[in-house]
């Protein structure tokens, strides 16, 4: 089962290629996404620098006002200077507006483009990739990581630059105005930035811990929800309740660490400007008293000084943001760097007959190359013929069927369709020739129609109705909105049997040359199963079929049966023939064996 709450996204799944290092290089590799927004980014930079200039200019106007009209008794200068302050203030607001307006468009454009590319790449990556990565892990890359990159590329980088400029420029002005005070500011800035960074680092660590523990708690919540029937059956609510409470208390303790840490941090940040004011007041007032500084300069000084508080304190935050963005970009590159291992060829079959042939096929999952799932499988299915695969659980039947549409690729031998190696065929073309109805049917949160026409989006209503009839899934017409009813997780919930019948209808509707049924009828009751089988018989009359079967009734759909044992086909023949001559086959399916057992028990 895969939910949004996968394992902690921090841990890469086993067998994944080593992720790229989380450093500036990985961030830079994503820089091409900024290219379409160069104009916007330039505007953002220029307006921000303009705002910096204004934040220095306004206090200087204040100084002129105090030192000119008030101290020097020059009434004529009040109005022009006041209007200048007003004008600069309005200009600042306009610049900020302009930056934010341009920024909204640019950063969202960057994020949306990355998400598009990520999704595109993920869809092209084969099952071998997806079987390692839970959809939860992928989701956290498509949301959390992309946001981190967006925040840094649209905001962090800009202010990293702007704040440094403001820090340097303002300090220069202060030094120029009254060097002893300027020196105090310059000396104080470095340790404050350092302290902020240290806090930030500690904060990241404890936040990560809180996140992990929240994840643990979420897992328990998930188990409590999904496993509720088992918990109830065994009356273990108390036990799971205690487990949950214990994890919640752990989280509580860690969260309190975080609270204490951030309390210290914010208290410190709150005290910094006040301490600055105290220092400036002391030195500045003495300076004014002794005539080294004018009253206007003192006021300007205090204002300028305070305008530095944010740039200084936010440097720590921005650097943490940069670290986060680097980690995020490394995680995203990990996906971008994975080449799709299954790439289609160029050949097409003009008039597909559905002749399926497996020659010396070997298969092993990539994370367990030493444990072959299939070895030396040979099978020839004539056009229009249906072959049933029979074997114990875990004998490799499902893996075998997945090789035909190249959901997985063989590790040895080859699979031929109408004499052509499937690896030479155009991938889309191949998959249009082969349709599979899976045992655990995937329904998407979309309309029933959209779910059914997955393999053939141009199917007419008549086609859909026919497929529904074959799979005995006419219940769809009785749903509240008929074919337009949303089903799946976010829609109307269906029973296992109903889902399987829809999956079957979906495969039938695709009108493939080769139809694969992977134990598709397991959740149907005997009566429905019979009806489906009658209808399916008609379809399979003209289509090549590969049917995974656990029950004798399903085997009856097939012309021949292949017995799969320990990853290879040991016998091929007709049902009755195998029943009579192969004891292993008889053990799996025979009615006589049952009858014997029944006789004992009755």
């Amino acid at each position: 089962m895969s939910t949004v709450l996968g394992p902690s996204p921090a841990e890469a799944p086993a067998g994944a290629a080593a992720p790229p290092p989380a450093d500036v290089r990985s961030l830079l590799r994503l820089a091409p996404y900024l290219r379409p927004h160069v104009v916007a980014l330039t505007i953002m930079l220029l307006t921000s620098l303009g705002v910096v200039a204004l934040s220095i200019a306004v206090p200087l106007v204040t100084k002129a006002l105090i030192d000119g009209p008030i101290t020097e008794r020059d009434a004529g200068a009040i109005l022009p200077l006041g209007l200048l302050a007003l004008g600069l203030g309005v200009l600042e607001a306009v610049l900020v507006f302009w930056r934010r307006w341009v920024q909204s468009n640019a950063v969202l454009g960057i994020e949306t483009a990355m998400r598009h590319d990520l999704y595109e790449r993920l869809q092209r990556l084969p099952m071998a990739f997806h079987s390692r990565w839970g959809s939860g892990q992928l989701l956290s890359r498509a949301t959390t990581d992309l946001s981190a990159i967006r925040r840094f590329s649209g905001f962090g980088v800009l202010f990293l630059l702007v704040n440094v400029v403001q820090l340097v420029a303002t300090t220069a002005v202060l030094l120029h105005m009254y060097w002893p005070l300027g020196l105090v500011v310059a000396a104080a800035a470095a340790p404050i930035v350092w302290l902020c960074m240290r806090f930030e680092k500690e904060y990241v660590v404890v936040s990560r811990r809180v996140q992990d523990e929240q994840g643990d708690l979420a897992t328990l919540a998930e188990e409590g929800a999904v496993g509720i029937r088992v918990i109830k059956s065994f009356g273990r609510s108390g036990h799971v309740g205690e487990q949950y409470a214990a994890a919640a208390r752990t989280l509580h303790a860690t969260s309190m660490d975080k609270v204490r840490l951030s309390a210290r941090f914010w208290t410190f940040l709150g005290a910094v400007p006040n301490l600055a004011v105290a220092a400036v007041l002391l030195l500045g007032a003495i300076g004014v008293g002794r005539g080294a500084l004018t009253p206007g300069e003192l006021v300007a000084f205090i204002t300028l000084m305070l305008s530095l508080v944010w740039p200084i304190s936010s440097l720590g935050v921005i650097l943490a943001m940069a670290q986060e963005a680097m980690t995020a970009s490394a995680r995203i590159l990990e996906i971008f760097d994975t080449e799709p291992a299954i790439v289609g060829g160029t050949r097409r079959i003009e008039r597909p007959r559905g002749h399926l042939r497996l020659e010396h096929v070997d298969f092993a999952f990539p994370d367990a190359p030493d444990e072959p799932v299939l070895r030396d499988v040979n099978l020839d299915v004539a056009p229009g013929e249906t072959v049933a695969l029979v074997g114990a659980t875990g004998s490799g039947k499902t893996a075998l069927t997945a090789l035909v549409p190249r959901l997985w690729d063989v590790t040895g031998g080859r699979v031929l369709l109408d004499g052509i190696d499937v690896r030479e065929l155009d991938l889309v073309h191949l998959r249009s020739l082969v349709a599979t109805a899976f045992e655990d049917p995937t329904l998407f949160s979309m309309s029933a129609r959209e779910n059914l026409t997955l393999g053939r989006s141009d199917a007419s209503d008549a086609d859909v109705a026919e497929a529904l009839e074959i799979s005995q899934a006419q219940f769809v017409h009785d749903l509240p909105w008929g074919l337009d009813t949303r089903i799946g997780e976010q829609g109307l919930s269906l029973s296992g049997g109903q889902r399987q019948r829809l999956a079957l209808a979906r495969a039938v509707l695709a009108r493939p040359a080769v139809l694969v049924l992977d134990d598709t009828l397991s959740a149907l009751d005997v009566h429905t199963e019979k009806l489906v089988e009658e209808a399916l018989g008609r379809v399979l009359g003209s289509t090549t079929g590969l049917v995974v079967a656990h029950r004798a009734s399903t085997v009856m759909l097939a012309d021949r049966v292949a017995l799969v044992e320990h990853g290879t086909i040991t016998h091929v023949g007709e049902h009755r023939e195998l029943l009579a001559t192969v004891p292993a086959y008889a053990r799996l399916l025979s009615a006589e064996a049952w009858a014997d057992d029944a006789a004992v028990s009755v």
């Binding site: 084969p126 309390a263 007041l281 003192l298 959901l407």
Partner: protein
Amino acid sequence: MSAATDWRGAAAVDADEAAEAMTAARLGGGARRLLGELLAPYRRALWLLVAVVVVENAARLAIPYLVKVGIDSGIPPIRRDDDLTVLLVVVGAVLGATLLQAVARQLFLVRSGRIGQDVLLQVRRRVFGHFQDLSPAFHDGYTSGRVISRQTSDVDAVYEMLETGFDGLVTAALTLVGTAAVLLFLDVELGLVALLCGPFLALLTNWFRNASARSYRATREKVALVIVHFVESMGGIRAVQAFRREPRNQEIFDDVNEQYRAANLVAFRLVAWFMPGIRLIGNVTIAVVLLYGALLAYRGDVTVGVLAAFLLYLRQFFEPMMEISQFYNTFQSASAALEKLAGVLEEEPDVPEPTSPVALPTAHGELRFDHVRFAYVEDRPVLPDLDLVVPAGQTLALVGTTGAGKTTLAKLATRFYDPTGGRVLLDGVDVRDLTSDTLRDHVVMVTQESYLFSGTIADNIRFGRPGATMAQVVEATTALGAHDFIAAMPDGYDTDVANQGGRLSAGQRQLVAFARAFLADPAVLILDEATSSLDVPSERLVQQALRTVLAGRTAVIIAHRLSTVEIADRVLVMEHGRIVEDGAPGDLVAGGTGRYSALHDAWVESLA
């Protein structure tokens, strides 16, 4: 509905969406009650916090005033005779105020943080416990996805508010009121001029609040679309690739991705208006104060110190206004979350615990249905009137088509549901008079969904009986023929189900679930399609085990496949909630004309 969204299909309006839509930036009734209830134990601590926060803000507001005093009264003595006393006293006072503020702030942040975390712990435990108390019937309707999101994203939203919002709101409010008061105190005329910005601020903030409430909701809806589509197409990638769905998926994804971008753009642009808007009002106010203040200072009506203090206060005045924009979203999602959580907690358990429970230390396992009626939907009874006695020790098989009421019968015996009429009795005691612990000790059900919890295989088997020894665990698995495959796993019984356990096949999972039930050693065992995922040889092994295990035990077996029925003492054929045939399997087959006989013939035929 536009063509672009046709693929979603129609669905009833989700109760959660409704709760979300209703949420303006104010608390609903349920949320308010819940919050009140949660905070009740902390009433005194909260008053203390209010006192602390007032002190903190007073100290903070004192500092610009001290600057004014420093400039107006500290500088002249220095000018006159280089006397630093006044200035040093004032600077000392600034340091004192800074210290006071820091102490108060630290105290406030830690204390309020603790209250927040305590509340959160309480919410988590209550919600989890409450979900556990609610019946499976409730869970069927509510779906696990929503149960999980209540306990994750909703609780997180409340956490977010407690962590950042509370402090921000209190500080912003006190700053606004405090600053206004101080400004008026410093100079009434200039203060009034400065406060002229009030109505503009109120208008802008009010507009923003409403607009951002709407846009925030839109963003949430759109991101949900992106997430659902993303997770489903990645989770179902096998079907996507097998059916060449990629181009259409990309189309849909681009569409929802674009919708999300557009919604986000609206939200970002609102902020792009709001923040500079506040800045504009602030800058104009400062310029006007500067202009007017300079005029007053020129006339000698105010001092330079007052002017400086005004500039400092106005800075403080506008800063929290900017933060409010971020706070609104936090507050909104928290209030929606609280509303939903309150809704869950108000849900009455529909299978309540007895007020005066009957003790039943040992059970023989006689199960009696006394004129039991049951309907999931009113007027559509699944069981119209069921009368049935299962004597202690009997193995009963239930057969019949889907919807005949077999599973319902099992769920009534395990009290997943209560009957709408009549009684279900265990050893003559109404199951509603037994505590759930007592009932579960004696009646255990194994279903076809064999859920495994995270932990080892042994942990999962012991779930049935926590105190069981390893020998007992092995005994159970050996009886079922499951010992061999478990022992062959890399870490044997200690294999982690979450890791290598992903390799367990459906059939193997079912065997583990079976072992769990055998170990629990109940008087009544109910098997609902419990062998459906097993292949024939494994099923046969389980049945052999069942024969020994079920000796002396009452068992109810529900099956589609008649093979499972073979070990039963007695077979019931059900149809539309009624028992249509009842007898020993041999007798029913021998009759030759009944439905069971027909089913049996069809089955034998299917095996041939």
